[in-house]
Symmetry: C2
Subunit: 279 residues, 2 copies
């Protein structure tokens, strides 16, 4: 437990540093690094790291995606993706005797959708700037992590009915409900703090608390689906954790599996619904 | 052989009809239909058709992609893709006991990249209009099919050295060279005809024959790589043909596997190099 708390503090410290440089390429670089580590963890979990050539290609794709909207990369993005797909098929042809099409497809699929989901953090920042965008990012992180924590304690206190016994035997329906409530209550509080804080520094914002109360439960459930999806992968390949980069928490994916789903959820919603904006 | 020729003529007739309506949604619809059939053939070849829910999702994605640039669809494209990915993970969670992650990933991967590659036909038309775009489309089809035919006859006449004995034992290096030469020569002739024809009807074009001579060999080789990639899939899953929708030719994918690679190749190149344009 002590190790777990220390890891959390180190993680939050890193998060604070990124937050300070939210309006710079630091965010793209950090998201790129998280994406690469997550993809490598996934490839290792599904026993595909041994395909060296394809793994290198997966890393190249993961590194590219968080920079997809930067002017220099944006212009050559279609060409880059075309090149990557071409290399993919050349590797498949070269290694066709040992590399199965389904493994190769899975590797390409992972190295597309995991980095794209993480890169939603960059896309949100690009679209809304570091202040409003920063709030949205913390909404995504908060919905996921406050759910996890709330579900853990609510499950321990009231847990009776198993949520998905075959996928994740410790999760309970009561825990899930507790997670949804916890994250919604704390996100409303956080929104209030942000609102008051922005007012105090002289740049007031309009804050729609109804949208926060309405969408946080959905993001919370989305995070749980991400968590369960990651568990399905671990279970099918007989892996306990994706890694051990954060002692006590496991790999990057073990900590970010729920965030992986809340980031795109927030990105899609705030495109339609103006939750907060400068007055 | 007779059956094969009749099938070809029917195919060319259909192609001519599409060409007449090239500037309408007929192209999108036909490309959508080809994409759906190709994806279903692929899913059946890799023994994944039995996963009904996911197959329906794959069809939905395949149908959507050729309309991605149409105003009504374009606006909701990110939301649609997000919805599809959400459904993908819900199905994975629901069927996690029988559906392997690698099979699910492969199905999603196929239903993305096959329709996107085919949809390049629509994107070329949208970008360059029916006349110039139509020429580029015939460049893609011609590079692929003239290669196939040239390689067949050159291989029969001069074939000595196997090209890829484990993947496609009948292909020879001599055939491949013959295919490249045949497609290049015929595409130059076709470009000349197009040039003269446009002049004759009073809407002259500028035609850069050097680019035609330079890029057709690449498209020809790209088509062969598509053909070989399809063969790897068939070989790994012990399938002879992808289908029998075109008697004597096999399935849609057996005929379009090389086109699948020349279409995006042409799309990427003509974005950079102005091969032909109205004067």
């Amino acid at each position: 437990m002590r190790q777990r708390v220390i890891s959390s503090l180190v993680g939050l410290l890193l998060l604070a540093v990124v937050y300070l440089f939210l309006d710079t390429l630091v965010l793209n670089i950090v998201i790129g690094a998280i994406g690469v580590i997550a993809v490598l963890e996934l490839l290792s979990a599904v026993k595909c790291s041994k395909y060296r050539g394809l793994s290198v290609l997966c890393v190249a794709i993961s590194v590219t995606i968080p920079f997809a909207q930067e002017t220099a990369v944006r212009r050559i993005m279609p060409q880059l993706m075309f090149f990557y797909i071409g290399v993919f098929f050349l590797i498949l042809l070269k290694d066709h005797q040992k590399l199965r099409v389904e493994q190769a497809s899975m590797m390409f699929f992972f190295s597309l959708f995991v980095p794209i989901f993480f890169a939603c953090a960059v896309f949100i920042r690009n679209r809304f700037g570091p202040v409003i965008g920063g709030f949205y990012l913390l909404w995504a992180l908060g919905s996921a992590w406050l759910s996890d924590t709330g579900a853990y304690f609510a499950g321990r206190a009231f847990g009776k009915h198993k949520l998905a016994p075959l996928i994740s035997p410790k999760k309970t329906v009561e825990g899930a409900v507790g997670g949804v409530i916890t994250s919604t209550v704390f996100m409303l509080l956080f929104a209030l703090l942000f609102d008051l804080g922005m007012n105090a520094v002289g740049t007031p914002v309009r804050m729609n608390y109804l949208w926060i109360a309405l969408f946080t439960p959905f993001f919370s459930i989305g995070g749980m689906l991400g968590d369960l999806s990651a568990s399905v992968i671990k279970r099918q390949y007989g892996v306990k954790d994706f890694g051990n980069i954060m002692p006590g928490h496991g790999g990057v994916l073990d900590r970010f599996d729920s965030v992986l789903f809340t980031l795109p959820s927030v990105f899609i919603i705030v495109e339609y619904v103006s939750v907060t904006a400068f007055l």
